[in-house]
């Protein structure tokens, strides 16, 4: 019968038309649960009476107040921005430098690339542990220098309240700059040869060419690297625990440590959730401008391309 055939065809046709969306459904459902529901759950817990175990009864915003009154939290939150920016910038700068060096048609490129990239394969815990051995005055560089005869050498940054955070930054950069290098190198290779030739004909030096022509043209890559590095920075936990345990005192504590400690060590799930929400807020502070900017750009592109 023509009617049922049409119906059957339109059903299959419907599925065919919406196949992309249908295929995405499992992921979207999973993400709705993982991103949206988990975040809402955390938000709810932060205003609840939860202590040892989750407790859904409402308790107001007292935990946020208590959180911000604690010195450890304010230090941790500051460290998040300080460490985050130094880490991302540092990895980008060093990654760019390394990429430019390798881009100079050097020999043994595979060797250099492997050397700079391999740290990404090492877990944060191991990274922190080994660098702690190196940085600690009694087991690492300072000791080695003393043994070699340079008795007055001092390299105790990791035990210095004001300098310990930079130790974390240096270690973090060691870990992730290879990733930045890999992407930037890829970008350098993809640069349009003609633009570069034009600059060379105009008599620009190598440094100038890089600065004025090449690097600006690959800025989307910098942005993309920054995003990936940023999420490393925000989630930083194992690195600091293995490297300094948040010390000396609370000098190198980061928010993820506070969240974990509050939720599980101290049985203050509500306050821990409040801290987690504050991490998400810090994230929003960075991401929302980025998202707005990206949609501006896309709208701009679409209008120019008609």
């Amino acid at each position: 019968m023509p009617d049922s055939n049409t119906n059957k065809r339109s059903a299959t046709q419907l599925i065919q038309d919406y196949l992309p969306q249908i295929v995405l459904v499992p992921t979207v459902v999973a993400m709705l649960m993982y991103v949206v529901i988990f975040s809402l759950w955390t938000l709810w817990l932060s205003v609840s009476n939860s202590t040892l175990l989750p407790d859904p009864s409402f308790a107001g915003f007292g935990e946020y107040v208590a959180l911000w009154k604690s010195k450890r939290w304010t230090v941790a939150y500051q460290n998040l921005f300080l460490f985050g920016s130094l880490y991302v910038l540092g990895a980008l700068v060093i990654g760019t430098l390394l990429a430019i060096l390798i881009d100079q048609r050097v020999r043994f490129e595979a060797v250099w690339r492997t050397v700079f990239l391999y740290p990404l394969a090492i877990s944060f815990i191991v990274t922190g542990t080994v660098w702690r051995w190196i940085f600690h005055p009694q087991t690492g560089v300072e000791l080695a220098l003393h043994d070699m005869g340079w008795i007055s050498a001092q390299f105790g940054w990791i035990t210095d309240r004001d300098l310990a955070l930079y130790v974390v930054v240096i270690t973090g950069i060691w870990h992730a700059s290879g990733f930045a290098m890999a992407l930037i190198l890829a970008g350098l290779r993809a640069v349009d040869g003609d633009t570069v030739k034009a600059a060379q004909i105009d008599g620009a030096s190598m440094a100038r060419t890089y600065r004025r022509v090449i690097l600006p043209s690959i800025w989307p890559i910098f942005l993309a690297v920054a995003v990936v590095l940023l999420q490393f920075a925000i989630k930083t936990y194992d690195l600091v625990v293995a490297l300094t345990q948040g010390g000396p005192g609370v000098a190198t504590t980061v928010p993820a440590i506070v969240v974990y400690d509050l939720m599980f060590q101290r049985g203050q799930i509500a306050q821990g959730s409040a801290a987690a929400v504050m991490i998400l807020v810090a994230l929003a502070i960075v991401l929302i401008p980025y998202a707005i900017y990206m949609s501006y750009r896309r709208r701009g592109e679409e209008s120019t391309h008609g």
Binding site: V23, Y34, S39, P54, V126, V130, A190
Partner: protein, 300 residues
């Protein structure tokens, strides 16, 4: 896309006078060597200390020329050291990690490919929003997702199982894999797809005939990224398993937990290297493809 002649045309080292060329070359290689020391130092230290006797390490620190060298600590780390109730070294934890990381990597990569393809090549309303939602998953700190996951795994009866852990890692990895794949497939010319659709090819046909053949570079990037991330993960691996099911990261942390014993730095170093070998090998072998996959526009 990469221009093959860029490399030949623009060789900064061949601009300028011969003397300048040599100095520039010297600076470049010099810098590379200097940086290499910074990057290789930890690995060298680990390797060295995995073969030195313990009293030597305690006496003269970690940065020192080894007095005597032995491979026994490697054997001990693999097969006999007592960790967490068993005295079989890290071998069984190594296997546990494999059992967990391999399936999760495969599943999240496959799903990432399909998702990335759907989001980049089939423009529908809300595609960008969905992509944004999926990407947000990349940023969630693990500590706040621990309890919700515990609840969910308990409700579906998968707590304290490797499958439960695979599920958690797969879903958390979906964000990354989709991010990478979608950006990569954006670079595939839309005309190719349009032409195929005009020829009557559907969603899956295009996937099989056009997308898959183009995807090896991004598959490698995704596999490397996922495997490394899952293999090196500590928190979920430790909390969502029990007894002898723990992953190797758990075993490594056991080395540093003090208690009333002397910390066996040498066995620890050997164990650390062994634990790091799978991702390391993948990076060393796959590094070329990693860069190539990224060259071809993996991240925009």
């Amino acid at each position: 896309m990469a221009e093959a002649d860029t490399l030949i045309e623009f060789d900064p080292l061949s601009t300028g006078s011969r003397r300048r060329r040599i100095t520039t070359k010297a600076i470049v290689y010099g810098l590379l060597v200097l940086f290499s020391i910074y990057y290789l130092a930890p690995l060298a230290i680990l390797l060295m200390n995995s073969m030195r006797p313990l009293d030597e390490i305690v006496r003269s620190g970690f940065i020192d020329i080894p007095g005597s060298v032995s491979l026994q600590y490697w054997a001990e780390a693999w097969g006999t050291f007592c960790i967490a109730g068993t005295c079989e070294g890290v071998s069984r934890f190594f296997m546990n990690s494999l059992l967990m990381a391999v399936p999760a990597t495969i599943i999240s990569t496959v799903l990432g490919l399909i998702n990335g393809y759907a989001l980049s090549k089939w423009r529908f309303k809300g595609a960008d929003f969905l992509f944004g939602l999926i990407t947000l998953g990349v940023f969630l700190p693990a500590q706040m997702t621990l309890l919700p996951w515990a609840f969910i795994l308990g409700s579906i009866g998968l707590s304290n199982t490797i499958s439960g852990l695979v599920l958690v890692h797969t879903i958390q990895g979906l964000s990354f894999t989709t991010l990478f794949c979608r950006n990569y497939f954006l670079a595939v010319p839309d005309d190719l797809i349009k032409a195929a659709r005009i020829d009557g090819a559907g969603f899956w046909r295009i996937f099989r005939r056009i997308i898959l053949p183009l995807s090896p570079p991004i598959v490698i990037v995704t596999v490397i990224w996922q495997f490394t991330g899952i293999w090196n993960e500590f928190l979920f691996g430790t909390v969502f398993t029990s007894g002898a099911n723990q992953p190797i990261t758990s075993a490594l942390v056991a080395f540093s937990g003090s208690g009333t014993g002397v910390r066996a730095y040498n066995v620890e170093a050997a164990a650390v290297i062994m634990a790091a070998l799978p991702p390391l090998i993948i990076y060393v072998v796959g590094g070329k493809y990693f860069v190539r996959g990224l060259t071809q526009g993996a991240v925009k």
